[in-house]
């Protein structure tokens, strides 16, 4: 398993975490390259289905990050998102989906170092957990069908 490189998808908000990740880069801080960042206007926009789709499409881990409470560009988007995550996470755990693979965080535009730390620790944790095969197994049939529809 030593060659396993986790695929991490990060759903981040435009105003804080995306700018924070930018700062990590401009500060020349090195961090794990396993993360693919998807930029959203606000954490409130991050639909829970996107997380499920990421897992189905082959992500081993997910980072969801945005502005700290009270810092939202739209005043309350992150508060709404937080409520949704609390409920969603509880439901996922009840259904046996591995919530340890989803890292939620608040990273402000000034926290370049924190972003690097979040990504590095998430990559390390997912490396430990291994590829998320059990979820993708449930998706197999789906992939097969789509192949037939689009290629055949």
């Amino acid at each position: 398993m030593s060659e396993f490189e986790p695929k991490i998808v990060a759903f981040v908000c435009n105003w804080c975490t995306y700018a924070g990740a930018d700062l990590t880069g401009t500060s020349r801080m090195k961090y794990a390259s396993n993360v693919k960042i998807v930029r959203f206007p606000c954490t409130g926009r991050i639909d829970f289905m996107l997380l499920l789709k990421a897992f189905a499409e082959g992500a081993d881990g997910i980072i969801v990050s945005g502005c700290h409470p009270n810092d939202c560009h739209y005043t309350s988007g992150n508060f709404h998102a937080r409520r949704r995550w609390v409920v969603f996470r509880g439901l996922l755990d009840f259904m046996g989906i591995d919530v340890k693979r989803i890292q939620f965080s608040w990273v402000s535009a000034a926290e370049g170092a924190k972003w690097a730390e979040i990504v590095n620790s998430t990559v390390a944790a997912i490396r430990e957990l291994g590829p998320y095969i059990e979820y993708r197994k449930a998706a197999d049939y789906l992939a097969q069908q789509e192949k037939e529809v689009f290629n055949g």
């Binding site: 309350s76 508060f79 709404h80 937080r82 609390v86 509880g90 259904m95």
Partner: protein
């Protein structure tokens, strides 16, 4: 029960309501019936077996068709009715809500607030089977839970009986009929089924009356009502909003408190 029939006859005779939605004797258990002439009111029954959630019919526009109706509501149906009022789906002057209390008294609700007060005082019906299954699921490991749910949900063939039985599923266009983007694949496969049931449960946040109609309607007997029950539990534990209070307030997910607590965001 005689009181209930008398009241229904009276309401229909006086022309105060044009239809009574209630239960009648079925082959196995009580079944819903729709009575529009006073002569048929003798068919009505109401006992502890009448657990189906009749509130689901109140949002059927083709059935109600502008009529004033009376409904015999079980404990959970009362919760649903309150919630439908909160979501502006019902008009208080077009609806008569009846129930029979545990001590066999007919109650006619005159105000929406009375329903809320009754729910606070009446005992919540117990469901031991569900409690036992939840306890079992919480005791096993996460991997075993995933195995349990994928096994159960792989049987689902997406008949959407759960949606049809739910009083809160009154959207004209459901997310599963949405195809730009196609969030949930229309065919029945394990993952598409898991996604559908996650969506269904999430959309019930703060709205679910925990009546269990979805699970009871499932032709395969899948325990899908446990998912919505889990949501009810999460809302109670994290936001301090109980199922009886949730129905009188704003939507749980479209409001927030700055002091909401969580323990997983870094």
């Amino acid at each position: 029960m005689d009181e209930l029939r008398k009241k229904a006859t009276e309401l229909l005779q006086s022309g105060d309501v044009q239809m009574v939605i209630g239960y009648e004797k079925g082959t196995k258990g009580p079944r819903p019936c729709f009575i529009s002439v006073p002569e048929e009111a003798h068919k009505l029954i109401f006992d502890e077996q009448c657990t189906g959630n009749l509130a689901v019919y109140l949002t059927h526009k083709d059935l109600i068709a502008g009529q004033k109706v009376a409904i015999t509501a079980s404990y959970f149906a009362l919760r649903s009715i309150l919630r439908l009022f909160t979501e502006n789906q019902l008009q208080a002057d077009r609806l008569v809500v009846l129930t029979v209390s545990v001590d066999k008294q007919l109650i006619v609700f005159t105000a929406v607030d009375d329903i809320a007060a009754y729910l606070q005082s009446a005992p919540v019906p117990k469901r031991e089977d569900d409690a036992a299954l939840i306890a079992r699921l919480e005791a096993i490991s996460r991997e075993e839970r995933w195995a349990f749910w994928t096994e159960e949900l792989s049987k689902c063939f997406k008949c959407y009986a759960c949606r049809a039985a739910c009083p809160m599923c009154y959207c004209n266009k459901c997310i599963v009929e949405e195809n730009r983007p196609q969030w949930i694949q229309p065919w029945a496969s394990t993952l598409a089924n898991v996604e559908w049931h996650i969506n269904r449960a999430m959309h019930m946040t703060g709205r679910c009356s925990d009546c269990g109609a979805c699970g009871a309607a499932c032709p395969l007997g899948l325990p899908i009502h446990l998912l919505t029950r889990r949501i009810v539990q999460e809302v109670q534990e994290n936001f301090g909003i109980g199922a009886n209070e949730a129905v009188q307030k704003d939507n749980v997910l479209s409001t927030f408190k700055p002091e909401d607590k969580e323990n997983f965001i870094r």
